[in-house]
Subunit: 384 residues, 2 copies
């Protein structure tokens, strides 16, 4: 199923531009999305209502087979001679003229040399800063939701492997041990990575953070894991085949945690339920964030909403869109926009304090006509 | 040890620009190199002879500790208000003015919106298409060479694991089996990935290609591995810690290969030795490529040098620089520039024909004052 690009049509009409051009490789998610093509080297995608690709001869066959483009041209169609940047702009200008394009809207991060090269050849080029494609990407098709669902299944297997290690660990002098050695953040992280590789997923980072490390949401965690301390495990794998991501966090304590940590866990489970209950079309990202903040503030705990200077309590937003990028629109945060069916979002309230540790519980859900569907199938068990 | 940026100084003097500016995250290797900083979100690096960073408050502490910058500023130093692109350009223009910069050279792929935003504020911005930083990156410091050496040690462990699987495989109906199941490209690739994870390396791709797959240098390989067929294994891991890559290829046959494949293997080993013998300061990348081509052509085999239309024989270049990117300067190919001490390059001749298979042998070497040092410590054994 093709993406709904009507918002791009409206944008181009309003901007009075003939087309939208991306010059990037497919590590740029807007490029991957608009072209439906996966390539390591930069190529051109022109949208004029139809989608036209311009690629090197090496990529031509694959682009015709695999991309979502209505037409694919190759460099040799324009007698392109490798080596000179000027040749590249000449070719590009001719390609645009062939599609009747003399004025372009381009992404904010469009390459300057290409823009200047085109301008010198009389093509109007204006950078847009509305992130129009990123905005369109927020609403997922059924196929995209299935891709995310699949990545989430892999994620659950990796989380299960991590939980298994924690459950099988023994405790010595307050530290976890497994297989005769200290069980560290690094070892658990490696087993998560291996479990994901077996599911054909990759990941750049994984958080396995214990105690004071867990109290800093930006700390990946390192060193020996401790009994009775909070252990935050946050995994966001990307399918190597589809390139879509999933995201889930669970918090564990091996053995009895502090009374405070127990209380915070219950409160965070409650904040997550409250936030989920607020997810429905028409609600805003800010509404969902407010629902989580309400739970914490009613319990007398600090939030960034209540105290922008606080360094403990609920010190991040409630969630974010996810898809080809781990952080996409919409944001579940102050100013977060209206939720629409097809938005895939994380809901992940948490509490942090170096003297207590960190607690975060994160589910992945898709907004539906009637509310939401939770894509997460993993228990919430704190003390194991 | 800091990189030698004198070529950038000369470039700026010639271009009559006050400074060089990069606006990118550190997945851009030029940005990582010039800043010495690792960040997921875009930040600014200004070079004026000294190196100045402009980063968000979130990154400020880490940038001061970890980057190679002479000074680090943060957005709040310029009263930056999040949300408006105009604010970003205003901040950037003030940051440039603080460093006495009113004209900039920038990379070809510098973001258009930032360039236009600065031009509107009176800053001269010109895209350079000489890839000046990429050129500087070709010559490695001792520390960089050590990083590559370390990644190569991990690479050798992964190759050993792959070879072990091939050696332990049994043959049934001409196909390799291991652990009661068909041994496929995919299974070997996964074990390579796991071996690299254990060495704290990551990789995007690995080639494990057999028979006709191996005859296409762009094919990653798939499906069951066959006895008596050429199996090309090409691994290019990246250290997660240093971000430097290594690269090595070996070709195996489990059991007796065809006489043709045996002959091609010997010839390729000879081409590699001839190419290596040509590596020294003052020789060009083209000289090294020519040495490999000579061996093949003398044996009556087609090369791209001899026949640009050939689809069999030696159908790629002899090698490439490697460092923060898997393909860097210099190129060991027609037009390849002069080799200099500190260049780290691959030397990887090969022969391809769907009726014979693929053969490639690849070592990783550093150019030294006296010639080269081979960074590869792995045997060449074809039939196992």
């Amino acid at each position: 199923m093709d993406p709904d690009l009507s918002a791009l049509d409206s944008f181009l009409a309003e901007a009075d531009a003939d087309g939208y051009l991306i010059d990037a490789d497919s590590s740029d998610s807007d490029q991957r999305y608009l072209s439906g093509f996966d390539a390591h080297d930069p190529f051109f995608t022109l949208y004029t209502g139809d989608t036209h690709l311009l690629v090197s001869g090496l990529e031509y066959g694959r682009a015709r087979k695999e991309s979502r483009a209505d037409s694919v041209s190759r460099y040799s169609d324009y007698d392109y001679q490798y080596g000179s940047p000027e040749e590249r702009y000449r070719m590009l200008a001719e390609f645009l003229a062939d599609h009747g394009v003399s004025s372009l809207a381009v992404p904010a991060r469009f390459p300057l040399a290409s823009a200047d090269g085109l301008r010198e050849r009389g093509v109007g080029v204006e950078a847009e800063t509305d992130d129009v494609i990123t905005g369109i990407r927020a609403t997922k098709t059924d196929a995209e939701i299935d891709h995310i669902r699949e990545a989430q299944r892999a994620n659950e297997k990796a989380m299960a492997r991590a939980e298994e290690l924690l459950r099988e660990a023994t405790v010595e002098d307050g530290l976890l041990r497994f297989d005769g050695r200290a069980l560290t953040s690094e070892r658990v992280r490696r087993e998560i990575e291996i479990a994901l590789l077996r599911e054909d997923c990759a990941l750049d980072e994984t958080i396995v953070a214990c105690g004071a490390d867990a109290a800093d949401p930006h700390d990946d965690g390192s060193g020996p894991l401790e009994a009775g301390e909070t252990i935050v495990i946050d995994i966001f794998p990307k399918s190597k085949e589809t390139h879509y991501l999933a995201d889930m966090t669970r918090t564990f304590s091996v053995g009895e945690p502090s009374a405070r940590a127990r209380e915070w866990y219950e409160l965070t489970a409650e904040a997550k339920e409250a936030a989920l209950a607020a997810v429905e079309p028409g609600a805003t990202g800010e509404d969902v964030h407010d629902a989580a903040c309400d739970v914490y503030e009613e319990a007398g705990l600090p939030t960034l909403r209540d105290d922008p200077a606080t360094e403990t309590g609920f010190i991040h937003s409630t969630g974010h869109g996810i898809g080809l990028d781990v952080h996409e629109l919409p944001r579940l945060a102050p100013g977060g926009a209206e939720l629409k069916p097809g938005h895939v979002i994380t809901v992940e309230p948490g509490l942090y304090d170096p003297t207590v540790g960190g607690i975060r519980i994160e589910d992945l859900v898709v907004v539906t006509e009637g509310g939401y569907e939770n894509l997460t199938d993993y228990p919430e068990e704190f003390v194991i």
